[in-house]
């Protein structure tokens, strides 16, 4: 306990005394983490949009008017039995008409005038993995009481192509950015340790063990990493709120939730990465100077 206090005291004192290096390291951590955080929020939202778009890919199975209640039940049971299927909803002729009326609102009278119901009954099938849509659709096509199977084949395929390309780009981008951040931060830390290598040499001569020397440096790294990341977190969070607000105001029709990535998730990642890079950067940066 006394040791921990000593190490903490050492770390804080040296942060104060080497304030220039401390600020340099803080700014580096702050900038890298802010960029990383902003990109994470961006990626998260893009991902939400992609998911939303993909979820819209559904299979509609239109049934012939001649279909019997029994056939409907058997078919429903069969479809629900497929493991790829998330949900299958039967929409009767009446329900379809009802929906049409609701969609049309004031113009619903026109439908009334038709006298009879021209809409087919259907199944609306949503899938666990929307990309399976083609396979499922072909399983249903051509059955005698099925009139038509529709899932907007071309649009669906294009959507999946585009979303997978976007995803790959984002992953590569995130990984590169993470790598750059780590390099930048550990380099700054290395520099600050290099400036103090004489100090380390003296400590060794007096008989300090490696860990006795290392702990204050590691604590320093953690402090700098966390504080820098916390500042970045605040900026990213405020910035996101601001931007989301503007989008909501101006693009009301966008059905995408634009739920910013949760603060907790962002905090865990940024603070964790910040502290980890700070600690390992200091710990490893010391290594060459400890071999005295």
């Amino acid at each position: 306990m006394g040791k921990l206090k000593f190490f903490l005291g050492e770390a804080l004192r040296s942060l104060r005394r080497n304030y220039f290096m401390t600020i340099a390291a803080l700014v580096t951590v702050f900038l890298s983490m802010a960029v990383l955080g902003a990109v994470m929020v961006f990626v998260y939202n893009i991902e939400a949009v992609l998911k939303d778009v993909e979820q819209k890919v559904e299979i509609s199975v239109f049934l012939k008017d001649s279909v019997t209640a029994e056939q409907i039940e058997t078919l429903q049971a069969e479809i629900v039995g497929w493991e790829e299927v998330k949900e299958s909803q039967f929409v009767s002729k009446d329900e379809a008409l009802q929906r049409l009326k609701e969609d049309m609102g004031e113009g619903a009278d026109v439908v009334e005038d038709l006298g009879r119901n021209p809409l087919p009954a259907s199944f609306e099938i949503s899938l666990n993995d929307p990309e399976e849509v083609g396979g499922i659709a072909s399983r249903l096509e051509g059955r005698e009481y099925i009139d038509e199977v529709s899932y907007g084949q071309e649009i669906a395929e294009r959507i999946f192509q585009v979303t997978s390309v976007i995803r790959n780009i984002l992953v590569v981008f995130l990984v590169m950015l993470g790598g750059v951040s780590i390099l930048l931060i550990s380099n700054t830390i290395r520099l600050s340790i290099y400036a103090r290598r004489k100090e380390v040499e003296i400590m060794k001569l007096v008989g300090a063990t490696n860990w006795f020397i290392r702990w204050p440096f590691v604590i320093e790294g953690i402090v700098v990493g966390t504080v820098g990341a916390a500042a970045a977190l605040a900026v990213v969070q405020l910035g996101t709120d601001f931007v989301v607000e503007r989008i909501r105001e101006n693009l009301i029709f966008l059905s995408v939730p634009f739920d910013a990535i949760s603060l907790v998730q962002l905090a865990i990642v940024l603070l964790g990465v910040g502290a980890l890079i700070g600690a390992t950067g200091s710990g490893l940066g010391l290594r060459r100077f400890l071999n005295v």
């Binding site: 006394g2 040791k3 060794k204 001569l205 007096v206 063990t209 005295v292």
Partner: protein
């Protein structure tokens, strides 16, 4: 206390540090290590604190064979060897008091008894009034006294001084010598590497002269340049 057996250290590619040195230093001795620059004095000291390892031969300090001493145990060896250097090697970020205290803190002893010890030793070297100053606010002689205080605060059985008076004027050097002399009186073995001819001649202690990495003279009550 210290035993060198046929110790050779070559710095790559072929610079001789020490060559075939046999040596025995008893507990409580005061030994001057003399010789021109590059004669092997520093190599000798660096070998003693296991900063470097010999290429050949055996070194024992306090009955412990340094060759078989594990790397992680080196700090414990150094706690038993007080070191004083020409450039003082004080931590510039710490006060005088904390510099001396650090030598106790590394041994896991930083409490009130340690602080009392630091006060005592600063009193002994006459620097109590500068305890809260930083090293760069002190004169060279004062800094060297701090460095000696730090080296001795543990009461190590062995104290090594590498040109401790090298940067100091004669009068200040005398004060430092007196300090080392008193430390030796408490039973601590003192090894001092020096260029200071007058000092060696005045003290009449054991003199080991090195040249080109070899012992050229080992005299019980010698002078600097005597044959």
């Amino acid at each position: 206390m210290i035993k060198f057996e046929d110790v050779t250290k070559i710095y790559p590619p072929d610079t001789i540090g020490l060559e075939g040195v046999d040596l025995h230093i008893e507990k409580g001795e005061f030994v001057f290590l003399v010789g021109p620059s590059g004669s092997g004095k520093s190599t000798f000291i660096r070998l003693l604190i296991k900063e470097i390892d010999p290429d050949r031969g055996k070194i024992a300090v306090g009955g412990r064979d340094l060759g078989t001493l594990r790397k992680w145990k080196v700090p414990y060896l150094r706690r038993n060897i007080g070191c004083v250097f020409q450039d003082f090697k004080l931590l510039s970020s710490k006060t005088i008091f904390d510099n001396v205290l650090y030598a106790l803190q590394v041994t896991g002893n930083g409490g009130s008894s340690a602080k009392r010890k630091v006060s005592e030793i600063l009193n002994l070297v006459g620097l109590s009034h500068k305890a809260s100053n930083y090293p760069d606010e002190l004169s060279g002689g004062e800094q060297q006294r701090v460095s000696i205080a730090r080296a001795f605060v543990n009461h190590p059985p062995l104290l090594i001084a590498d040109e401790p008076t090298g940067n100091l004027d004669p009068e200040t050097s005398n004060g430092i010598m007196q300090l080392l002399y008193r430390i030796n009186k408490t039973g601590t073995t003192v090894i001092m590497a020096t260029h200071d001819r007058e000092m060696v001649d005045a003290m009449r202690r054991r003199v080991i002269a090195l040249d080109d990495g070899q012992i050229v003279r080992d005299q019980r009550r010698g002078g600097y340049g005597e044959a």
